[in-house]
């Protein structure tokens, strides 16, 4: 069955006005999201992954502005079933708030300890968006909120409705945040590092819960994370971001088993691994560029031991990886005239091992 494309982002450019000058936080991002699929946006802090999702939600900070590009939503009207297509870059703030945010797209935040209002019962917090957006009565919203709490795996839902956030554990709070996100039946869910602040034992449970709800409700999920372990568990597609651009995108197999961009190599190499003989954890040398200054050429070039001369002058376009229709890489190494550079030996070994384990698990 052909899946419908529900989110289409093209050439998104976002800049922030700061005291240090204009920061080009997002420098041309493209991606698509299809119904029911999960994509992950991976990158280190400051790579622009959070800014991208905030733009999708229409909650950019007041000093940020979208310079160009489009963020198109497609949905079917809940009453008439009519197909709607809107570019939120062209929509007014009020319209985004009334039509899109909360209703079509919802978000799960990083830290459940701080993302719930401490002075409001969790019941009220779950009921609020339903009553606000769909004009549900208190009774309807209450019944639905109980259902939602049960769906996210909270026992004693009735009792919990009256609780305040501080009476719940971190894992429970994150479940409540997920219940709030799902309360208006969105079709896109953004999860911004949803497990980073949680106990390791809870992490897997929350990820499973999100996956389970996703299948049940046929929604699409965008994960923002720097944790490649999470990515491997949940994502169908991966976008690797660096300095406000997507530098490599592909299926999970493309990225984990056949990475092509030196930055992706670096990311994969710097994953902690228990079975390694190395004493030291690999880190990518240097630090990300300051985007307040104009970037010439490939932003990753100064940290890239494989950088070519051209990398310092011209920003590489997206190259299709030969023989794949999903895998794309923004690196001059992919050019037909480029010298052939292989990934580091240690990473090769690691991937080989991952492949073996992957086969075993399947």
């Amino acid at each position: 069955m052909e899946r419908e494309r529900i989110l289409k982002i093209r050439d998104l450019r976002i800049s922030f006005k700061t005291d240090a000058g204009t920061v080009q936080a997002i420098r041309g991002v493209d991606f698509d999201l299809y119904q029911g699929e999960t994509i992950a946006i991976v990158g280190e802090s400051g790579s622009g992954k959070s800014v991208t999702t905030k733009a999708i939600m229409g909650i950019l900070a007041s000093n940020g502005q979208i310079d160009s590009g489009s963020i198109e939503y497609v949905w079917h009207d809940e009453n008439t079933g009519e197909r709607q297509e809107r570019d939120i870059v062209k929509m007014s703030k009020d319209d985004i708030q009334k039509i899109i945010r909360g209703r079509k797209i919802a978000m799960v935040f990083q830290d459940p300890m701080t993302s719930l209002n401490p002075t409001m019962t969790i019941g009220k917090q779950i009921m609020e968006p339903m009553m606000y957006h769909y004009g549900k009565t208190k009774e309807e919203a209450y019944a639905r909120a109980i259902e939602l709490l049960q769906e996210v795996g909270i026992t004693d839902a009735q009792k919990r409705m009256k609780n305040y956030p501080h009476q719940l554990s971190g894992g429970m709070r994150q479940r409540v945040v997920i219940a709030i996100a799902l309360s208006c039946d969105p079709y896109v869910l953004i999860c911004d590092e949803p497990t980073t602040a949680l106990d390791v034992t809870i992490q897997a449970k929350i990820l499973e819960l999100i996956k389970e709800l996703q299948v049940k409700k046929n929604i699409s999920v965008i994960y923002i994370t720097h944790d490649l372990g999470v990515v491997a568990k949940v994502a169908d597609y991966v976008n690797v971001m660096y300095a406000g651009k997507i530098v490599e995108k592909g299926t999970i197999d493309d990225i984990f088993y056949d990475p092509r961009h030196p930055y992706t190599w670096g990311l994969l190499s710097s994953m902690p691994d228990l079975d390694t003989d190395d004493d030291e954890l690999y880190t990518i040398p240097g630090s990300p560029p300051n985007l307040a200054h104009e970037v010439t050429g490939d932003a990753f070039a100064p940290r890239n031991q494989f950088a070519l001369n051209i990398d310092l002058r011209v920003d590489p376009p997206m190259f299709d990886v030969p023989g794949s229709d999903s895998h794309q890489v923004a690196s001059w190494l992919m050019h037909e005239k480029a010298p052939k550079v292989d990934m580091p030996e240690s990473l090769k070994k690691r991937i080989l091992k991952m492949k073996k384990e992957g086969l075993k698990n399947e």
Partner: protein, 314 residues
């Protein structure tokens, strides 16, 4: 109110009573240690003074005097005035002044809190605009210029030049007479509350839960009313408590300038004349007010912020 709230209030009440007892003891001891006597030694012979002291029980050991005084207090007898209004029960002196002083204090506190919160919230929401600067300027002026300067200024403009309000306190027209002193008194409160509210509100607006509320798709008005305001007001209430007490008790200077027959002016006269029981009564009243106010604030705090009510160790 649930059981834990009641238990909390009960505990606080007990602490308050103990606090008051300690205050009375310290007050009494300090008054006795003060030099001088309520009786004027220039006009009276030592014999007469000794006689007077015996009459009022001032010749007995201090501890005995204290016990007698405490017993009297429990039955509502605060003694009699020794020098400023001879033999008149202290309560008759203090009684009519309570309403005037506290009335002006409460009015100034409410006015100050209201204007302060409005100014602070406006400044926070319209950050780095002309409104923010304006509110900051008002706050700085309010903090740095003492209230009696404002009182003089207001009296000059609205009492002398425009003549809308009386310059001296008119006991037959207490409301109109109170307006200028109330405003003068509230200026400091406005400034303090505005500054505090502004920084609190900015902090709250940056919090994750506001981001989540925004992600729910609420409009800005709902966001601020339902999610930001309450969380801003919790800490504001804590600064409000001492401000209110200050205004109710600290209006001595304003009372002098505007010739308001309030507690402050009585206290000043009592201290000057070594009128032990008058000073005791007014000082005790102030302490009582302070303790009650703190109790109210703590309870209010618990109602507004559920995290306080259900303490983890409780």
């Amino acid at each position: 109110m649930d059981k834990s709230t009641l238990k909390y209030i009960g505990k606080r009440l007990l602490i308050s009573v103990v606090t008051l007892l300690v205050i009375i003891l310290v007050l009494f001891a300090m008054l006795k240690m003060m030099p001088g006597s309520p009786f004027n030694p220039e006009k009276l012979s030592p014999d007469m003074i000794a006689q007077l002291q015996a009459k009022y029980g001032l010749d007995k050991p201090v501890l005995e005097q204290f016990v007698t005084y405490l017993k009297g207090m429990l039955t509502g007898d605060f003694g009699i005035s020794l020098s400023i209004a001879k033999n008149i029960p202290v309560m008759d002196l203090v009684g009519p002044r309570i309403g005037i002083s506290f009335g002006i204090g409460i009015a100034a506190a409410l006015f100050g809190a209201l204007i302060g919160v409005v100014l602070g919230v406006t400044a926070a929401l319209k950050r780095n605009t002309i409104w923010d600067s304006l509110s900051t300027i008002i706050a700085v002026i309010g903090v740095s210029i003492p209230s009696f300067v404002f009182a003089l200024l207001l009296l000059l403009v609205f009492g002398l030049k425009i003549k809308i309000f009386p310059i001296l306190f008119n006991i037959n027209d207490p409301i109109r007479s109170s307006i200028l002193p109330t405003i003068a008194l509230s200026v400091g409160a406005i400034a303090n509350v505005a500054r505090f509210t502004r920084s609190e509100m900015i902090e709250v607006m940056k919090s994750d839960y506001i981001l989540l509320a925004e992600a729910k798709g609420l409009d800005r008005g709902t966001l601020i009313r339902k999610h930001a305001l309450r969380n801003t007001l919790v800490p504001v209430i804590t600064v409000l408590a001492p401000i209110i007490i200050n205004l109710m008790t600290g209006s001595m200077v304003i009372e002098q300038i505007c010739s308001i027959p309030g507690l402050g002016s009585l206290l000043v006269r009592g201290i000057q004349a070594n009128d032990y029981y008058v000073v005791m009564a007014v000082a005790f009243l102030y302490s009582l007010l302070y303790v009650v106010m703190m109790l109210v604030v703590d309870v209010l705090y618990g109602i507004i912020d559920p995290r306080i009510r259900v303490g983890k160790g409780d």
